[in-house]
Symmetry: C2
Subunit: 414 residues, 2 copies
């Protein structure tokens, strides 16, 4: 019988040669670990083994005897190296039976794609006796659930989209039912930028923070996230507001927000359109903004003016500016901004010109020098940044900085 | 004594709460696993435990008694939760001694940054007796090496850049010295596109493939990689050429090539410039091409014409075309191509217009319908594609398809 009073701990058994050959990164572990931590059944152990019956059974033996909840991922497919199900049945000392309803579902899945189902897939309809099959709408391998005398065992397919689907739809409710004492950990995040972690720490007064809440600094590339964790939603909401109010000048979003999603929402809310003139970011800002579904509501488009010729001929940057100040200059950023506004007539515009490296830097303008221009209605600004990191990172930070500064300018301008 | 004849197998012990809380993805495992597979000492087991002495010692006990090479990662820093070193010393039953040379190096590292070294860092200079400290030029925690009576044990810091540095510089040569029988596995890849895995399998005659080579199909999003593995470089080179020759119409690159790096090299080699007119990909093609250092040699830039207004006013697509055929049409792709060539005068141009979803599809033009136009000197083509997946995937496939087709067209045109 699962215990109904004490703290619950979980273990994950990862099954698959591809993980131990380094061909696949075990993102399933980090997904399950974060979900189980939030549910209140934290993962305290993980074993990764090859697709070998004796290794799978040894891992089961170790975990099932020590942890309340054990979840295996991988090896539930129909091919020869998928031996997880047979190993599990052997370990728990049960047979396997054909479940016609699962077989019908597998056949329907193939039929929908106009494919004759290969007979090897009949495997998928075998369920160890005494186990519950957990429906998988994203693939052909159902998950498995077994309540044994020391706790709960689950088996999941290794394909991330299927694994997540079955965990969310089937395992989460099952665990809440089996362990009514589980308390879900809640996390609330405040996203800041434009200030260092240590400067934030000076501004922020956390002396009154109740002991039942945990506070964490999570530095990101070029910005800092502040995370509160606990079990009391009302208290968390209150403290999320208190933290945000103390550093309001630097806050750009909350919880699941991304810079692009916040800018997108702000533009939609105010009925504004935007455009971009990108040099060193090479289209990354527009790519980020068009990642959001419905981007055509606000993103008109823009110009990637990688070469000076395009800056001149498409955006109308003057040859004199390029000669006198160079393409990476405040003057050029302003003229790029003017050019893109003239071409697109957008309400909001952004321009970026800089040196992403690895070469092209000088003493005056080292690699990482980036000019970002913003325009909102009739006002325009250009700011110089010195960003650190490799080419990839400098481009990413420049794009994110541009988006975050647009959010700030638009909000300030009401 | 390490054995000098039989096959070598390795185990990795991952130490750290952050992995089991899902805050960090265990990329160290996939790095070490792929490196050790190449070295000929494949990883067959991985345990992940929390920062707790008894759990670390239990994992050591299990692995050191079963595997030739055991490597731990994590917990070598100076703070209170870094208890790996003490746990290791306890497990092997040895004391720890201060190494003045390490302490000097730690102090110099802080001095270089103008920081007074916190005394807690004296920890870093403690080495378990009988262990060899492995220099770490990327951080303050040296790696550790111990030759025990059943094999070799190594401990590495968890920070990926430090872990990789010490593995490459110190562990790789140590393993080659300790196990002279190790044979490095070599991998050779042929990248294909425009043909399915099953159609490739029909075209490809592998009947003569020597038993000492392994062949693997690695389907990627929208393309297939073919990988040969073995120990004989000459034989691998020969078979890589033979495989490529059999499917030459579909080959776009080899080994570490990416679509953008191949196109970049081809443009540079021929002294060609390029530009792009992107609608649904929103700048992604230009972003990919400017990921490469030195992109200004070939990438002039282009236009992201997300809205119809930009298509008309910047690229000169006719209002009639948009009304009659819509923005997602062969006609529009051709006019976008004409427009970007006129604006930029580039030698090579590409245009993309499509429906990335999740909404906006119809019976005639479902989500995933993408028109890609290519132009090389005076010739132009437009092709219609029906791409599958979510918004993100459709955009990625469309950008990659556009790049791969440009490579093909340029090569064909000599």
């Amino acid at each position: 019988m699962p215990n109904h009073t004490k703290k619950i701990s979980s273990a994950i058994i990862t099954i698959g040669d591809e993980i131990l050959l380094g061909q696949t990164i075990n993102t399933n572990l980090s997904y399950l670990a974060s979900q189980l931590a939030l549910l209140g059944a934290p993962v305290v152990y993980n074993i990764t083994v090859r697709d070998r019956t004796e290794e799978i059974m040894a891992a089961l033996d170790f975990c099932v005897n020590r942890f309340d909840v054990v979840i295996s991922t991988g090896g539930l497919g129909p091919t020869a190296d998928d031996i997880t199900k047979a190993s599990i049945a052997s370990f728990f000392g049960v047979g396997q039976s054909h479940h016609e309803d699962i077989w019908q579902k597998v056949q329907a899945r193939f039929a929908a794609r106009g494919i004759q189902v290969p007979l090897i897939n009949r495997n998928q309809a075998l369920v160890p006796d005494g186990f519950t099959a957990l429906p998988n709408d994203e693939g052909t391998a159902p998950g498995l659930f077994y309540r044994h005398n020391k706790g709960c065992f689950f088996a999941l397919a290794g394909v991330p989209v299927e694994m997540r689907h079955v965990f969310e739809r089937q395992i989460t409710p099952t665990l809440k039912r089996e362990y009514p004492q589980l308390e879900s950990l809640i996390q609330k995040t405040v996203h800041s930028f434009g200030i260092s972690e240590s400067a934030l720490a000076e501004d922020l007064d956390l002396a009154d923070l109740p002991a039942e809440l945990t506070f964490a600094w999570l530095p990101q590339t070029g910005r800092v996230d502040l995370r509160l964790s606990g079990y009391d939603l009302k208290l968390l909401d209150e403290w999320q507001k208190r933290v945000a109010a103390q550093i309001s000048d630097y806050v750009w979003g909350f919880d699941e927000d991304s810079p692009a999603s916040v800018l997108a929402a702000l533009l939609k809310e105010r009925g504004l359109t935007m455009s971009a003139a990108e040099s060193c970011t090479g289209g990354l800002i527009m790519k980020m903004l068009s990642d959001e579904p419905g981007a055509s509501d606000y993103l008109l488009g823009g110009v990637v003016s990688y070469s000076n010729e395009i800056k001149k001929q498409v955006l109308g940057v003057s040859g004199e500016t390029l000669e006198k100040h160079g393409a990476v200059s405040e003057e050029c950023a302003f003229e790029m901004l003017d050019g893109i506004k003239r071409l697109t007539k957008s309400d909001v515009a952004v321009s970026v010109t800089g040196i992403a490296g690895p070469s092209g830097g000088s003493d005056f303008k080292p690699v990482g020098t980036v000019y970002i221009g913003f325009s909102y209605l009739s006002a325009s600004w250009v700011r110089r940044f010195l960003l650190t990191g490799n080419r990839q990172l400098i481009r990413h930070k420049a794009a994110e900085m541009a988006i975050l500064h647009m959010i700030k300018r638009i909000k300030e301008t009401q």
